[in-house]
Symmetry: C2
Subunit: 347 residues, 2 copies
């Protein structure tokens, strides 16, 4: 009861202060920039205009609070995806424990290849084919109770470090995008992650890292199987059965499955986000579709191949995607020009 | 701006009134019964005790607000399911329009059988087999854009009436359960529907009928397919491909897929809810699992076959489920004894 009372008294104090401001005719928060890590420019202006238009009662573009849905791709949009997706690093770095439990795997590809990579031959990552990765994913992400997987992923996230910045992966989120998440939420938007990454994996850290609860993470998802332990207690086991491939057309399909309504704003950075941005922009009224372009080799990475940037298989942003963005009125965010600061840990 | 200011001033007035009450030492809302349609008894007491235990800071059973998830079956738990599930009525009553568009279906079973049923031979419903119903469901629920389906379902819901009460189906919700939904939400719980019914169907009316937004409806779900219209605009088509059969073990599996965490409270009324209630109750700390028993032939319906009630194929509540409930500490709600009023339209 003490906490509740304190909460109420503090809410009272805040409300009275706000009331006083209104009485004096001073617009509340007029001086506060919601996006301080952004340089002034078309991208920042587009976000601010979208929010103002959609939350102002009487505006022709007003969106009722219940309909305010915004979706964000994760890898390359909310956090760093180069040189390799964090979840792929998790899969690779989970192999030694797997081999310890089943020593016969040490001499079998692709497990043997992964052991070489982890011994220092990082270039050998390129040897892994898509079927290899699928086999590794099935072995490290499925076949265990959901609680066991969650504990393993949590442990890895607490210990693993990105090779360039020597920081936990969860610190490599983009500060400007964190500001957009908070700005949208402060204006009544429900923020969702819609990722090609594993839904169960991202849910482990989404709340602490982005303030996004597990139920607002849509990702590539496998089935689970309900069963009972020896003690009679029920539990769910992760199955190697794909329910939703949350990439490309799978993104709007996943949004329909998990959210059931069309977003008003969507953010991505690669061809895997194309259909989500198309679907968002095709709705009535004000819709915001934005793409992050990685064009800052010095402060982060530079890849496309759009606009003559180096080509990549990780987070490909083609010229055709760039052209569609320009044609459809999507806004391209240049990391180099639009972001004053990239990470919270930077000075 | 005027609306915003008025909102703030009204919030201010309410907060000050609450502050005054606290200053006077009068507990706010002490006199208000959150469950006025419930008779005093074990069921009502279990709900009130659960809420008090889980929201009181310092209580060993305290549940942090972010974890407060409660799930509700729909048919037979939140609204009437006899003599037949509303969605089955939707499927049957959609057949004439289907036959109008494709006249060759008029002489083909099961479409011809449905036409007989609708002409007055209601008993012929019993002739429909499960494969018949699946064929009818595929024909009436899939193959069209999601927006078209939504418009059709909305139209039907506005016009269709339950044969006994001559009221729209959406008015046949149980007032005591509506009170539980509101009571839980007022105490920080996120309320979800977890139904064997069609996810897209229930989402059409969940917000208006229960205050539950589409993204908090988990149901039996089919795939959709992303494509482009002649005008180049993208849209999703409902496909006859089952992604989630949200019954029995499918309920906890669906909860993991769509919500990603275990509920603290779950409500059901039939064997299809067994696994959801087991899964809920198996969690740590305070967990509430409840079952509605339809034992009031006069005011609603009576069916089991638990406790010697008449047997049924629609919302079966077996003696084995009843015995498991008693053994596991789930609470059985007797409509006859626990509910003072059943419907809001009753005097």
């Amino acid at each position: 009861m003490i906490m509740k009372t304190m909460y109420t008294l503090s809410a009272l104090a805040r409300t009275i202060a706000l009331g006083a401001l209104l009485t004096l005719g001073v617009p509340a928060q007029a001086q506060t920039d919601p996006l301080p890590s952004w340089n002034d420019g078309a991208a920042k202006q587009a976000i601010v205009a979208f929010v103002k238009d959609t939350i102002t009662p009487g505006s022709p573009k007003f969106v009722p609070p219940a309909d305010r849905i915004a979706t964000f791709d994760q890898d390359g949009t909310l956090w760093v995806e180069h040189p390799m997706y964090s979840q792929v690093m998790y899969i690779l770095e989970s192999v030694p424990a797997l081999v310890k439990a089943k020593p016969e795997l040490a001499k079998v590809a692709p497990f043997s290849t992964v052991l070489e990579i982890l011994k220092g031959d990082r270039a050998a990552i390129a040897k892994l084919t898509m079927p290899d990765l699928e086999k590794l994913a099935a072995a490290t992400l499925t076949g265990m109770p959901v609680d066991t997987f969650e504990a393993q992923a949590k442990k890895w996230l607490a210990e693993a470090k990105d090779p360039r910045w020597k920081k936990p992966y969860t610190e490599l989120t983009y500060l400007p995008m964190q500001e957009v998440l908070k700005y949208l939420r402060a204006n009544g938007y429900k923020t969702y992650i819609v990722t090609g990454g594993g839904q169960d994996f991202v849910r482990v850290y989404s709340e602490a890292t982005y303030g996004i609860p597990p139920e607002q993470v849509v990702g590539t998802a496998g089935g689970t199987k309900y069963g009972y332990g020896k003690d009679g207690k029920p539990f769910l086991t992760k199955e190697p059965k794909l329910l939703l491939n949350d990439n490309n057309a799978g993104k709007p399909e996943g949004i329909h499955l998990m959210i059931g309504r069309r977003p008003y704003a969507a953010f991505g950075n690669s061809t895997g986000d194309r259909e989500m941005l198309e679907y968002t922009k095709a709705g009535d009224g004000a819709r915001l579709s934005m793409l992050v372009l990685h064009d800052d080799a010095k402060r982060e990475y530079a890849y496309g191949p759009a606009q003559g940037l180096p080509d990549t298989k990780v987070g490909t942003f083609t010229q055709s995607l760039y052209d569609e963005a320009k044609k459809q009125g999507w806004v391209v965010i240049s990391i180099k020009d639009d972001w004053k600061r990239i990470f919270a840990f930077e000075p």
